[in-house]
């Protein structure tokens, strides 16, 4: 009798502990869920809803069905911005990830002064896009900018281009600046993945008289191939939604030559009050980013990884 009583009591206390744990789990999850609902999920649904209306900021939003979406196909501003966004994100991603690898490989091999280089190369990524764009805007100024002044002093007048005002060049300038800005971050990610390669493998390679290049190509690169893909994808996603850098550097100009989707969206909403249409642009951004992120989640294995 006594024994079973004790056992029963224990069972209920265990049960109670289990229930407490469950309650605590929900309680700990609650703030996150509340914030996500208020600031992400609810606004997202409102964006989607408005994209089906002709909402202009004042008065009521009239349902127009797919009209905004159909209009995208012959909306020159949209096609231009979409093309610019793809060109910009592709160019910037490839260039900054490539540069990142060029910077990371020698540092990983502990080239002379590697720790100083590593410190210096990560200075720019510490600065904000706005600051970098303001500085680079001054340096690339066609008349008094340091770059053109230097080129002219060297007698290379033909290379002193109108970096930020020439329609044919401005996109390259923007990509160049963004890649320069992003290379340090990519470098650091590669370094962290490379440092996971065991020293034995490297030393065995040294003993076998493998050349530096062969070592990189046959040992280091295969190991960082997947991280490389992950960096490439997360970079592309970040560049696809980029706003600060281009907005401050060129404001989308000259004309609409460097206008990307996020700039077009804010202009459409806040300058011409076409909220409905702007929300349609926003939905396009969401769809593209969501597809890319789905791939990213698959490749990086965040959702399933158990550490």
């Amino acid at each position: 009798m006594k024994k079973t009583g004790k056992k029963g009591k224990r069972k209920t206390s265990l049960h109670k502990a289990r229930r407490n744990e469950e309650l605590m789990g929900y309680a700990f999850q609650l703030p996150l869920i509340i914030l996500l609902c208020i600031f992400m999920i609810y606004p997202l649904f409102r964006t989607i809803y408005w994209s089906f209306t002709d909402f202009r900021g004042l008065g009521s939003a009239n349902w127009v069905g797919l009209k905004n979406y159909i209009s995208l196909f012959d909306d020159l501003r949209f096609t231009n911005a979409f093309k610019n966004t793809v060109v910009y994100s592709l160019g910037t991603t490839v260039l900054s990830c490539g540069l990142g690898l060029l910077l990371a490989a020698p540092i990983y091999r502990k080239i002379r002064g590697w720790n100083i280089y590593r410190f210096v190369f990560y200075i720019t990524p510490m600065l904000s896009g706005t600051v970098v764009a303001l500085l680079m805007g001054r340096l690339f100024n066609q008349d008094v900018g340091a770059i053109n002044v230097t080129l002219r002093n060297l007698g290379l007048d033909s290379l002193a281009l109108n970096w930020l005002t020439d329609l044919d060049i401005v996109m390259y300038t923007v990509i160049l600046v963004s890649a320069w800005f992003g290379a340090g971050g990519a470098m650091l990610v590669y370094l962290s993945n490379m440092s996971a390669i065991s020293n034995d493998v490297q030393e065995a390679a040294t003993l076998d008289g493998v050349s530096e290049w062969q070592r990189f190509w046959h040992i280091t690169f295969p190991i960082i191939k997947r991280p490389f893909l992950v960096v490439l994808m997360s970079n592309f996603i970040a560049n696809f939604r980029s706003y600060e850098m281009i907005n401050v550097l060129t404001g989308g100009g000259p004309g609409t030559k460097t206008q990307v989707l996020s700039i077009l969206m804010t202009l459409t909403a806040f300058n011409t009050n076409q909220y409905g249409l702007a929300c349609t642009y926003a939905v396009v951004i969401v769809v593209v980013i969501a597809i890319l992120t789905a791939f990213y989640i698959k490749v990086s294995g965040i959702a399933t990884k158990r550490v």
């Binding site: 407490n20 992400m40 910077l103 091999r109 210096v120 600065l127 706005t130 900018g145 040294t206």
Partner: protein
């Protein structure tokens, strides 16, 4: 390993020295020009200042007063970086506190607590990574305008924290899972409830992961532009990025040297932090990269 001098390293060294120069020159440019007068800036942006002056900083920091208020120099730098600095500081601190608190709770719940629907919640969190902030800009602006919440720094801070939450929660979960379970089991045997275990054992151990989350998001909150620009319309509520951009907005009101002072004021705290906590920051970035 082998620190011997090698001929094959020469091109790499040349490339690295060039790249270092490209990294450092903009900072040098920023500092020398912030010490010039506008007249001097226009003549030559590359020369050193003939008579270094801190006036740009003073005007940019405080705004001009008295006799100065009528001078050309002062009129061109009407920015009030001191207020912007304070605002950015408020947004960053509040945002990071909210972010770290909620990310820690979520991470612990996901890593250690058993409750129904746990993995479903996690799937939702991961999928939130797919929603870009700018897609939410328009409704958030409208909602804030309707509720009279524009020009509210706390709202902006909580907004930043929310956008950063999915990533931070994922990092925290991964970190909490790597804490040895034995510690908590020992505590449980000593009669600690889950709550006291969390408070007394898990939190102190997780300090470095919390710091990681803070470091990874600090820069974003310090210098975000898009939402700050749209949600903060009053001059005295602007954060640093939006104040800087507003300095360039008007043709008449534009002072290049003053702008460089503003840029310096914005970047120096971050650079000082980087110089002193280099190891820590790099460790955090690395860790964040490996974990996510």
């Amino acid at each position: 390993m082998n620190k011997k001098f090698k001929l094959s390293h020469v091109p790499v060294q040349i490339f690295f020295i060039l790249w270092s120069f490209m990294q450092l020159y903009p900072l040098y440019f920023m500092i020398i020009n912030s010490l010039k007068t506008n007249a001097e800036y226009v003549v030559d942006t590359m020369a050193l200042p003939t008579q270094p002056t801190f006036d740009n900083f003073i005007y940019a920091w405080k705004g001009a007063s008295g006799d100065l208020a009528n001078s050309y120099e002062a009129l061109t730098i009407s920015g009030n970086m001191a207020t912007a600095f304070r605002n950015s500081l408020i947004v960053t601190v509040v945002g990071l506190v909210v972010l770290c608190a909620i990310a820690t709770m979520t991470g612990y719940a996901q890593a250690r607590l058993n409750f129904r629907g746990r993995s479903k919640f996690y799937t939702i969190i991961v999928w939130m990574l797919a929603i870009p902030g700018q897609a939410l800009l328009i409704p958030i602006f409208r909602i804030c305008a309707e509720l009279k919440l524009t020009n509210n720094l706390i709202v902006l801070a909580v907004l930043y924290a929310t956008f950063a939450l999915p990533g931070a929660a994922i990092t925290m979960k991964a970190n909490m899972e790597s804490i040895p379970k034995e510690l908590e089991e020992a505590a449980a045997l000593d009669g600690c409830t889950k709550w006291t275990t969390f408070w007394r054992i898990v939190l102190p151990i997780s300090r470095s992961s919390i710091a990681t989350v803070a470091i990874l998001n600090m820069n974003y909150m310090w210098s975000e532009l898009m939402f700050a620009n749209i949600l903060l319309t009053k001059n005295e509520m602007r954060t640093l990025s939006s104040a800087l951009v507003s300095l360039t907005a008007s043709q008449f009101n534009y002072s290049p040297a003053g702008l460089m002072a503003g840029v310096t004021i914005t970047s120096v705290p971050i650079l000082i932090l980087y110089a002193f906590c280099q190891r820590w920051i790099m460790g955090s970035v690395t860790e964040g990269a490996v974990k996510s």
